[in-house]
């Protein structure tokens, strides 16, 4: 049974897949498809069904011409899921749960398009138990993704993302990076560099309660779940403005970094809405 948080969305890839398997994305493989590739002589490609009469008549060498097409192929999809301690943030729904919903929806959508899916989870290292190889096994994937819901981690950072590119495919893939991106920009840049062979979709999970809906007035002791450090703040109007300012600056910095790699980010929060991803692909690919 598919859990009700699994919501499929439509996606497409802007590049030609190098896979040899029949799928739904434009590929580089010659075969049965509707992506016109060119004409060759019947001798080279002895398929009488594809004879191109118009081109044959125009050929000064009077060779019989055959149309060739590119076959539609599969493309691998990767969901990189940040399970560091900061993803535990949230009250009614942790960020990790939202990440889980998104990952499950990606797995389901990939299955719908006949694509391969792989999950990679990391905190301060890549977590092998929550990592899946590329496969068509939808239910296996959903089962592992479901384990994210009761995943607890304390004092776990997100440095493990540096190892994630080693787990990716050799072929160009569609990579969803689901994280709050609460990590140094240098680490993000280094990782993106290592993943530049792929199309990365950064999905930024921020919560309004991190910046807009802060406490109104009073002392608050903020504890960082990743480092265990604490800071006492006296919340008031001007401090809340500073928070919003800090997050705006951060957002600009993240946007600039992602756009440098031509990976426009997608900011999500609250309930997962599959239209957000569908719109994203319609807009950018």
């Amino acid at each position: 049974m598919i859990a009700n948080y699994v919501k499929p969305f439509a996606y497409s890839t802007p590049w030609k897949s190098s896979s040899v398997h029949f799928g739904d994305h434009r590929g580089t493989q010659r075969g049965l498809g509707d992506d016109y590739r060119g004409n060759v002589s019947l001798v080279d490609y002895p398929d009488a069904r594809r004879m191109d009469l118009r081109q044959t008549l125009r050929d000064p060498y009077e060779q019989i011409q055959v149309k060739t097409f590119n076959q539609n192929n599969t493309t691998p999809l990767f969901a990189i899921c940040d399970v560091s301690s900061s993803m535990q943030f949230g009250s009614r729904q942790r960020k990790l749960e939202l990440a889980m919903h998104i990952a499950a929806s990606i797995a389901y959508s990939a299955h719908g398009m006949g694509d391969l899916f792989s999950l990679i989870a990391y905190n301060n290292h890549v977590i092998e138990d929550l990592t899946l190889p590329l496969s068509h096994h939808l239910f296996n994937s959903l089962e592992v993704i479901d384990q994210l819901s009761d995943y607890q981690s304390k004092l776990a950072g997100s440095e493990g993302v540096a190892d994630v590119p080693m787990y990716l495919s050799q072929h160009r893939s569609l990579v969803f990076w689901i994280s709050d991106f609460h990590m140094p920009l240098e680490l993000i840049e280094k990782t993106l560099n290592a993943m530049s062979a792929h199309q990365v979709v950064p999905i930024v999970l921020w919560d309004d309660r991190e910046h807009k809906n802060l406490p109104q007035f009073g002392f608050g002791n903020l504890i960082d779940p990743e480092t265990g450090l604490a800071r006492t703040l006296f919340f008031r109007k001007s401090l809340r403005d500073q928070f919003i300012e800090a997050f705006n600056t951060r957002r600009e910095a993240l946007d600039r970094l992602f756009l440098k790699f031509d990976y426009p980010p997608l900011y999500l929060q609250g309930e997962f809405n599959p239209e957000a991803l569908t719109n994203y692909f319609e807009q950018y690919t």
Partner: protein, 328 residues
Amino acid sequence: MTLLNPWALLLLPIIAIPFWLKSSQGQMYSWLDIVPHDKFSETANLILKIITSLLLASIVIALASPRGPDQKITKTGKGAQTVMVIDRSVSMDHPFAGDASSGRAAEIKSAAARRLITKFIDSRPDDMMGVVGFTNSALYGVKITSNRDAIHAAINAATSSALNQTNIGSGLTQAVSLFDTIENSGSRAIILLSDGAGKISPRVKQKIKESLETRKLNLYWIVLREPDDISIFSPTNSQFAEGSEPAPIELDKFFKSLRIKYKAYEADNPAALQSAIQDINAREKKKIQYSISIPGHDYADDFIVIALFLSLLILVAKNLRVHSWQVE
């Protein structure tokens, strides 16, 4: 400045606790690096920690109870160092003479004695007094002191009733012994208040004689008399043969034979008792000097008040705490 409990200062390192221990109470926040640096919050937090430290320090210092140096003050008083020797026999609980047959409720002898002696004490604020009660033996009341509360309490105790016996000798020797523990400051007197007399053995007589004479003590004897009793001032007293006088007359004679200042009074009503006490009051007007030590100021109280005030501040800060994020 001295510390009564210096060992309490061993606890002093706990004032570092607010700076040393990290609070694990609070709200989880996803990323501390993005939290803006806020000077005001840091200052407020530091002040809060300092307040907590000061609070702990105040309590520790209060536990060590520092106190200022003792002061010795020489006080000048007028009047005597007086010891009240009060009869507590059952007969003291009888009313004054004459009133029983008049049909009116009369004042009890011991109650009148208590009232008038209390007044006497209050009229001489600089005096030092001691109290001894007696029935069949002496009952130590209070040493010679200028502490009014103690004297009042001792008078209250000494004027309540006890056994039906009157052992004046024992009361007097106990009273004399009270003077041994205190410096002679001028005039010293014993006020003997009784409603009769008992026989005193020759041995005790000899002892009383020696001790009263060597210490130069003045003796005042107030006899609370009932009408049919023999008066020690009666002119017919000489009719009694030597050695067969009634007890009061014999005692009066004995006191007169001592080489000390002695005066006897007879009172058969509260007014007479009052006039007797007033007479004693007028006689004992010599200046006396004595020193008392005033304990140094106890600073522990001040530190407790400071701690209370600081904890109020902390209470305010505690109520300013945010416990949860607002839900959108």
